[in-house]
Every structure is written in structure tokens, then in C-alpha cells.
């Protein structure tokens, strides 16, 4: 994080996202991971001679939906191109991708301050509220997966031909923390649209990073280094932190930065040269003659538009306004749509909606519940908050009710009855307790009247003890004061 004041990093990301489609990008094979190797294949995804691709419209719709969510310009006509290179895990030795006419161009990813690393959420860096520009979003097919054994290699073709969306950012990012928040913020958008599970650690979202440094104030970019093998958002952050420091150290020693691809080694916590880019690869892109241009303006775009969800930023401001939650709580709720729906149900009828948020986000969440399946109905939290708000129970009793709610789920009102917890708010009953307290503690009464106002606490403690904690403390306070000043 602590880039020496003199230097500034320039970072751009290329993010590959696996799409949640039933079938592969250009054939009808199942798009599913974790099954027996090469069990979801056909002539098309194996690239057998004579086979032809047919585009998966759902993948196109999901890419357009992503473009809509990120404010991209959507192409009325997009094209698929062939990207030519030889690799054993690529059955045709060309990848169907998009080059000149991608589905989406431009767009923005707003950085969520609460999706920066925890310890820097309070810094100006996180609070700056920056948005990162996107260059483009395009759709392509994924390659197969190679496995290397002692004396041979194997290829699992289940992944071959599955839809992959590539999101390319402008070189707008300046810090590892921003890159971290970019990936988190982007993921929230993808989750909101049910586009992808976008879990980096499961390979559902993969990221290549381009990073260079330059003296602050300089306009020209420095020599760009590409980082690979980044398997988590925190890995991206660590790799960038290391790589920026490495480049600065080299520059300060007067060494030139090589234009190269470096591999992040998470164990070693360092990057290592993978290949130099002296010979830039020539992919010989050309439009795939097997595929017609994609007309997005003939139904596909409209279909995507009907699936626009509430975006994370919109949802967060609504939660803050409608429920009085904090910005942090809004970010946490926004990051888990199931939990958020649970909260909204819980708070809908409650009098103190902010209290409901506290119960759910502090107490309930710490029990690691699954809001989708929990037997604890969301309405119970609204009821619990209301019981405190209307004085039926006090906060100490509420804790007991919560514990019982977790152990034997039932309506909090029921639990209050079951445990005999209802607060005593009856004035005459409380008056009797107060009279007893005054009679039994002449010393405290004297002290209070002499101006030691704290002495009243001893009287209150007597009442609470007598009432087995059920006395309404606010009312007791009022009654005692009235009696003592009489």
C-alpha cells in the first residue's frame, strides 16, 4: 500500500467470468464442473472435423445484461472472431472470441468503500468513491483443462467450449486496494444479475493484471508487466503490492523494467518471470465464417433488459434510506442478496428497523445461519425489536429471548411468555416495590435527598431484585424520583 510518494502505479485488469448457463457456448453439452473427465463432450466442443458452432443465446443475454448493469454501450450487431494459436487444451487450435465488434464497450465499475481490504476502509483511498472505466466486455469459449502426471499429460474437455465473458478495464486503477475493491464490487454486480457465481477461488472468475509504475505527475505509462496465476482477490492484492515494490526498487536502482509476463507464487509471496514479450503473439484474428453476425437488437437486448436487477449501489442507498441502516450495514446486506431479502422481510413491519438490522447483522449472523433454510422466521426479529421498543422486555431480557430463539425457534412473544419474562409496567405494582425499597434502604434515601443522586441506583437494584428483573427500569426510575422528592 505504501507506495513511496514519488511513484504511482498504473493497473489494468482483464477479468474472465464463467457464465451460469445450462449448456456450453457453441453446443448443447452440459456446462457443469466436477464431473468425470471428458463426460460432457460432443463433436463441436471436441473440435472434431466437420463440426460447427452455434451460439448460445443465453450466454449472449447474460453478457448483454452485464453490459446493462455496468452502463456499457451495447452493440446492435456484434461478431465472433477466431483467435489463432496452438495449445493442447484448445481443440480447434483457435478460440472463438470477439475482436473488432464485442457485445459491450465502455462502462463503469463503482468501487464500494466497504469492499476495500478491512484495515484500509477508513482511509481516503477507500472513501474516495472512484469509479473504474471499462474498455469492453466480450464473449468467448473457454479451453479444456490440462493435467500433468509424472510421465504424461491428460486433458479434461468438460470445460472446453463453456461460455466465458471477458471484462477488460482501462488502466484506471492506482493501488492494490483499488484492484481488490474492483474485483469485489464487480462480483457484487455479477451476483445481482445471476450472471455468475464469480468465485475466484473456484476459478469462476479469473484475473490477469497489467501493472506499471511512473513518477507522479508523469503522463506516459511505464513498461507494463502482466501478472498471471492470481487465484483470489487477496492474491491479486498481495501480488500487486509485491510487484509494485519490485518495480519501484528496480527503477530507483536505475534498472529498466522488462516487458514480460510474470507468475505470482502465492507460497513464496513473489512474482517470477514466465516469458518475455519480445515476440508479441500474432493471433491473426478474423471473423469466424461459421457464425453469422449477432443482431442484439432483435429481441436479445430486450430480453436482457427485463432481467435487470436492483444494482448494488441502488440497493445500498435504498437500505440506508428506507431502513436507517449504516453504510457499512448496507454494504454487508448488499453483498448477500439472500440475507438482504431476509432482513427486508424482518424489518418490513418492525417499528425500529435499525434495531432489526443490529439483531440480524450482529447477533444472528455470528451464529453463521443459512438465511435461506433457517427455521427462524425473519418476522421473529421484527417482533423481538418491537418487544424492546414497546417496553414489553428490556434489553437484558431481549438477549435471553434471542438465546432461546436460537435454541428453540418460536415467536419471541411466545418465548417471553414461556420464560415468564414480560416486564412489569403496572404502576401500582411498581409503586409497591418502590415503597418497599424506600422503607428498606433509609441510608440511600438520605444520601439521595442530600444530593448524592447516584444513591438512587441502590434503590433501583432492590426493585429489580424483588421483581426478578422484570420491572420496567425507566418506569422504576420515574416512580422512585417522584416518591423521593415528595
Amino acid at each position: 500500500m505504501s507506495t513511496p510518494a514519488k511513484w504511482e502505479a498504473v493497473i489494468g485488469l482483464e477479468v474472465h467470468v464463467q457464465l451460469l448457463t445450462q449448456t456450453k457456448m457453441f453446443c448443447g453439452c452440459t456446462n457443469h464442473y466436477g464431473d468425470a473427465p471428458t463426460s460432457h463432450v460432443c463433436p463441436v466442443c471436441l473440435g472434431l472435423p466437420g463440426s460447427l458452432p452455434v451460439p448460445n443465446e443465453e450466454a449472449i443475454r447474460l453478457t448483454l445484461l452485464t453490459g446493462l448493469m455496468l452502463g456499457c454501450n451495447l452493440a446492435p450487431v456484434a461478431r465472433f472472431d477466431r483467435k489463432n494459436y496452438f495449445y493442447p487444451d484448445m481443440p480447434k487450435n483457435y478460440q472463438i472470441s470477439q475482436y473488432d465488434d464485442p457485445l459491450c464497450a465502455g462502462g463503469l465499475v463503482p468501487l464500494d468503500p466497504f469492499l476495500f481490504p478491512k484495515e484500509i476502509q477508513d482511509t481516503a483511498e477507500a472513501k474516495a468513491g472512484r469509479s473504474i472505466r471499462l474498455t469492453r466486455i466480450h464473449l468467448e469459449e473457454d479451453v479444456a483443462k490440462s493435467f500433468h502426471f509424472e510421465d504424461r499429460s491428460g486433458i479434461d474437455f468438460n470445460r472446453a467450449g463453456t461460455p466465458l465473458m471477458e471484462i477488460v478495464s482501462e488502466a484506471d486503477l492506482r493501488t492494490p486496494g483499488e484492484a481488490f475493491s474492483f474485483l469485489g464490487s464487480l462480483r457484487q454486480v455479477l451476483l445481482a444479475g445471476h450472471v455468475s457465481h464469480a468465485d475466484m477461488e473456484k476459478g469462476q472468475m479469473r484475473c490477469d493484471v497489467n501493472v506499471s509504475i511512473r513518477p507522479i505527475g508523469q503522463k506516459e505509462f511505464g513498461t507494463k508487466v502482466e501478472l498471471k496465476n492470481l487465484n483470489s482477490t487477496s492474491g491479486v492484492r498481495r501480488a500487486l503490492t509485491y510487484e509494485i515494490a519490485r518495480q519501484i526498487a528496480a527503477c530507483e536502482k536505475g534498472e529498466a523494467i522488462a516487458h514480460e509476463t510474470r507468475r505470482w507464487d502465492d507460497q513464496a509471496g513473489a512474482t517470477f518471470t514466465m516469458r518475455t514479450k519480445e515476440k508479441a503473439h500474432d493471433y491473426r484474428y478474423f471473423p469466424d465464417p461459421d457464425l453469422l453476425p449477432v443482431r442484439t437488437d432483435q429481441g436479445l437486448l430486450e430480453a436482457a433488459r427485463t432481467r435487470l436487477p436492483e444494482l448494488p449501489t441502488v440497493l445500498q442507498s435504498r437500505l440506508i434510506q428506507a431502513f436507517g441502516v449504516t453504510a457499512y450495514q448496507a454494504s454487508v446486506l448488499g453483498a448477500d442478496r439472500v440475507l438482504c431479502a431476509y432482513f427486508e422481510k424482518a424489518a418490513a413491519q418492525a417499528k425500529s428497523k435499525a434495531t432489526v438490522a443490529n439483531w440480524i447483522l450482529n447477533d444472528f449472523l455470528s451464529t453463521q445461519p443459512d438465511p435461506a433454510t433457517t427455521p427462524i422466521l425473519p418476522e421473529f426479529f421484527g417482533e423481538l425489536a418491537d418487544l424492546v421498543a414497546d417496553g414489553t422486555i428490556n434489553s437484558a431480557q431481549a438477549k435471553k429471548v434471542f438465546a432461546e430463539l436460537m435454541a428453540n425457534p418460536a415467536s419471541p412473544r411466545e418465548i417471553v411468555k414461556r420464560l415468564g419474562l414480560a416486564q412489569i409496567s403496572d404502576v401500582s405494582a411498581l409503586g409497591t416495590y418502590c415503597d418497599e425499597a424506600i422503607a428498606a434502604n433509609p441510608r440511600s434515601v438520605e444520601d439521595y435527598r442530600a444530593g448524592k443522586t447516584n444513591a438512587i441506583n441502590a434503590l433501583k437494584g432492590f426493585v429489580m431484585k424483588k421483581s426478578q428483573g422484570k420491572a420496567n427500569p425507566l418506569q422504576v426510575d420515574e416512580i422512585l424520583k417522584a416518591k423521593l422528592s415528595a
Binding site: P49, G50, P88, N93, F286, D290
Partner: protein, 479 residues
């Protein structure tokens, strides 16, 4: 007379009247094959047993019930070899049916065998086959044309009733012309390419080679139609072609593109084509002089675009998953190099290198992208011409069949064999070649009729009328 000499239409009538059985057709065909195949070498593979078994179960109620058909060896048929006449597909067995093949099966036809071709359909003489050359039935010292030379030689040599071919730059029409049979290249998008091993995807079309125009229409009616597996097939509903045959060309406007009649062209070819044009005029058609001004660019445009697409299409043959694999490779790069060096023939390598070059950074603008622009102009040429006429009438080939070996060392001269057929592939139009005469030395001459896009019905009507008014299609090659 041997049933091998009959047309599909006649055999179907005789089958339906129970006069003959499908096994009779096969028996006669195999007798012919035994007599002639040794000379012609039209086939790379024969389905003797499976064909006879299928004949016993043939469903005569289907449109091609009981009719044996040969396939060019670049069409996938489940369980059968699919060599593309290349060493690189040695031992490969197709794990699926091409759409065209499955349509033939559904129509009741019997797969007879697989026909020889130029390797990966790259060539005009069938001399570029790794499985040996095919000879012209009219003169075994001459080439049958190509790349569907095996299909044309088999049909013309009466050892197949009909065969499927593929046409990327003339590969159905030119061998049909040189062997004296009927070859139809449908409009691009008319017939599904699924299962046809791709040479140049934006140009390839599957089509029939037959003895008569009627048989050609019969096969096209089975093959044509949208295929959800081929994104480039047209969405129009299925059609039945040439259902009415009145033999009239009255009122037809026949265009003669001046760029197809050049000074110095083969005189026998020219006079046969002129006579054909005269016949159309005499029978009520109007002859119109038209121009396709970009014709001289077609060969250059074709050899840029076709090779560019081929360089990608043929990248998959790498020894990793199927087909030939070089032994003792040091690493994966060495495996690629050796498999492809050993597996591909010279012409295929030449075209892969050419195609790779025209797509390369720094050259793609001058070659690939420039050629795409000229292709659009070629297409406009045809669109404009078809505002003035209904059909274009041209020679199919600038000359009759040339001697074996004459051009194998001169690829450029070989490329000129397709000068009259290539433009229609670039424009996407359909076209037919049918016999329109013979040279003094008894070599067939082919007439090409080109239609507007999806104008196959007009093509077939015009061709059928001409064919039935002459006896060229009935002439037999020397046996």
C-alpha cells in the same frame, strides 16, 4: 442393360413397380465397379457388405428408398472412415453423421462408398490425393477434375448412380464438366455444412453429382433446408425442386457475361457454349449481354480468403486428439511440427502457409481485409447482373480435361482451372454444370448456368430443358 446405367428417377419407378429389388441395383453396380474401379480409382472405400445388408431392409416408400449413393471422402458418416484423402486422417473413424448424410439415410438411400478427392478438397485434378489419383472415364490418361474428382468419375464411369461432392471454388462443377455429368453447387446456406470437413467455411457447399438434372433436383430436395446445427443455413422452409418439367425456356432472360468469353479461349469449348446459347435463343429465351466487371480479381480474392479460412480450419489436425500422430515427439511443439509435416501434402501445406501469411499482422490489411472488400464488389456484380437476366450462361471450365501430371508442378496454372467457377462461391450464388458437347477427341464439355441466390428452381428448369433437348447425357464413356 445393367441397372448401373440408369438414372435414379428411372430406378425409383422400377423399384416401386416391384420390377426390380434394391439388391439388383447393387449387384449391377458392383459388377461395374469390379470391371472399372481398377482403372478409375474413383473410390477410397466401398461399403460392399453393409450396402447389401441395407438393400434387404430398404424402405421403398421413402423418396430415395433403395438408391445407393456415394459420398465424397470429406463427409462424416457414423462409423466410417473420413480421410479427406489425407494421411493426417489415417485410421480416423467418424463418430457422427453429417446432416447431409443423415438426410440421405432418412430418405432411404444406401451408402455405397466414399470417393476420392484432392486432399482436403484443395485442388482441381484429384492428383493431390494421398490415396492415389483418379482417372477420367472418357480418357484414363487425363484428370477427372477436382476436387470432387472421385465423385464425378464414379458417376460418369457408371460405377455410381449419384454422389455427393463439395464445392468451394468449383469442386463439384469443374469435375462434373470434365467427366460429362451434372454437378450442382447450391446457394451458400441452402444445404447444411455440418459434418463436411471444412476447407473454407464461407465458400463450402455440399451438392450432388448425377447423370441427369432431374436426379440432381431429387437429391437437392432431400438435402436442402435449415439446420439448427449450421448457423449459416438459410431459414426458408424446405422446397421440392423441379416438380413441374415442361421443358420450356420461353421468356427466360439468359445473360452472357462478357468476362467469361475471352479471346484465345479453347475453341471447342467456346463453340459448344455458343451453340448452347443459340439453343436457348431458338427456344424462346432472350440473350442479354451482361458484365461482371470484377471477374478478373476473383482468383486472387479466392486464394486469399479460402486459404485464410483453411489455415484456421486445418489447425485442429495436430496429432493430439485423433488421426495421425507423429511418434517419438520430444515435446508438444515437436509433436505439432512432425505430425503436420508428415501428415499434410504439399498443396495443403502451401495453402496453410499462404493463409497464415495473409492474416498476419502487417499483411492482413493489404491481403485479407482488402480481399473481403473486393468480395463484396464481386457479390454486387452478380446482384446487378441479375436485375437484367434470370440466369447466367458460361463455360464451366476454360478447357476440357487435361493430361495427368501436366500441371502438378505449376500450381498457378492449376488454379486457373477454376476461373469460371470461383466467382459464384465468392458471391454465394448457386450454379450447375451439365454436358453441352464433346470435343473431337471425345472429351465432355460443361455448360454452367448460374442463378440468383436461392434461384435453384430457375437453374434446374433451364438446365433440364437444355438437357432433354440433347443426347449428351446419354452418351457413355468408352468401356
Amino acid at each position: 442393360m445393367s441397372l448401373a446405367y440408369e438414372t435414379i428417377a428411372t430406378l425409383r419407378r422400377r423399384l416401386l413397380s416391384k420390377e426390380i429389388h434394391p439388391r439388383d441395383i447393387l449387384k449391377d453396380l458392383f459388377t461395374q465397379i469390379d470391371a472399372r474401379e481398377k482403372t478409375l480409382h474413383a473410390y477410397t472405400y466401398l461399403h460392399r457388405e453393409s450396402a447389401l445388408a441395407a438393400a434387404e431392409k430398404a424402405d421403398l416408400s421413402l423418396p430415395l428408398g433403395g438408391i445407393p449413393i456415394a459420398l465424397k471422402d470429406n463427409l462424416n458418416a457414423l462409423g466410417d472412415p473420413c480421410t479427406c484423402a489425407s494421411k493426417i486422417l489415417e485410421g480416423y473413424k467418424a463418430p457422427y453423421d453429417a446432416t447431409a448424410v443423415s438426410l440421405l439415410r432418412q430418405a432411404g438411400s444406401i451408402l455405397l462408398g466414399r470417393t476420392n478427392m484432392d486432399e482436403f478438397a484443395m485442388g482441381s485434378s484429384t492428383e493431390n490425393s494421398a490415396l492415389g489419383l483418379t482417372r477420367n472415364p472418357w480418357d484414363p490418361t487425363r484428370i477427372p477434375g477436382g476436387s470432387s474428382g472421385g465423385s464425378a468419375a464414379a458417376v460418369a464411369g457408371r460405377i455410381a448412380l449419384a454422389a455427393l461432392g463439395s464445392d468451394t471454388g468449383g469442386s463439384i462443377r469443374q469435375p462434373a464438366a470434365l467427366c460429362g455429368c451434372v454437378g450442382l453447387k447450391p446457394t451458400y446456406g441452402r444445404v447444411s455444412r455440418y459434418g463436411l470437413v471444412a476447407f473454407a467455411s464461407s465458400l463450402d457447399q455440399i451438392g450432388p453429382l448425377t447423370r441427369t438434372v432431374e436426379d440432381s433436383a431429387l437429391l437437392l430436395s432431400v438435402l436442402a433446408g435449415h439446420d439448427p446445427r449450421d448457423n449459416t443455413t438459410d431459414l426458408r422452409p424446405p422446397e421440392k425442386f423441379l416438380t413441374q418439367k415442361n421443358g420450356s425456356v420461353q421468356g427466360l432472360r439468359v445473360g452472357l457475361p462478357k468476362e467469361y468469353f475471352l479471346p484465345g479461349m479453347d475453341s471447342e469449348t467456346e463453340s459448344a457454349i455458343r451453340s448452347a446459347a443459340d439453343w436457348f435463343k431458338k427456344n424462346g429465351a432472350t440473350l442479354v449481354d451482361v458484365s461482371l466487371p470484377h471477374t478478373p480479381t476473383a482468383i486472387a480474392v479466392y486464394y486469399i480468403l479460402a486459404t485464410a479460412e483453411a489455415s484456421a480450419n486445418l489447425a485442429r489436425f495436430d496429432g493430439v486428439r485423433y488421426g495421425r500422430r507423429a511418434t517419438d515427439a520430444r515435446d508438444v511443439l515437436d509433436l505439432y511440427h512432425r505430425t503436420r509435416s508428415e501428415g499434410f501434402g504439399a498443396e495443403v501445406k502451401r495453402r496453410i502457409i499462404l493463409g497464415t501469411f495473409v492474416l498476419s499482422q502487417g499483411y492482413a490489411d493489404a491481403y485479407y481485409r482488402q480481399a473481403q472488400k473486393v468480395r463484396a464488389l464481386l457479390r454486387q456484380d452478380f446482384e446487378k447482373a441479375f436485375t437484367q437476366c434470370d440466369l447466367l450462361l458460361t463455360p464451366t471450365s476454360p478447357e476440357p480435361a487435361f493430361p495427368l501430371g501436366e500441371r502438378t508442378q505449376d500450381p498457378l496454372k492449376m488454379y486457373l482451372a477454376d476461373v469460371f467457377t470461383i466467382s459464384t462461391n465468392l458471391a454465394g450464388n448457386g450454379a450447375i454444370s451439365l454436358p453441352c458437347g464433346f470435343t473431337k477427341s471425345n472429351l465432355p464439355i460443361g455448360l454452367q448456368l448460374i442463378g440468383p441466390r436461392f434461384g435453384e428452381e430457375t437453374i434446374l428448369r433451364g438446365a433440364h430443358a437444355f438437357e432433354q433437348a440433347h443426347d449428351f447425357f446419354q452418351r457413355l464413356p468408352p468401356s
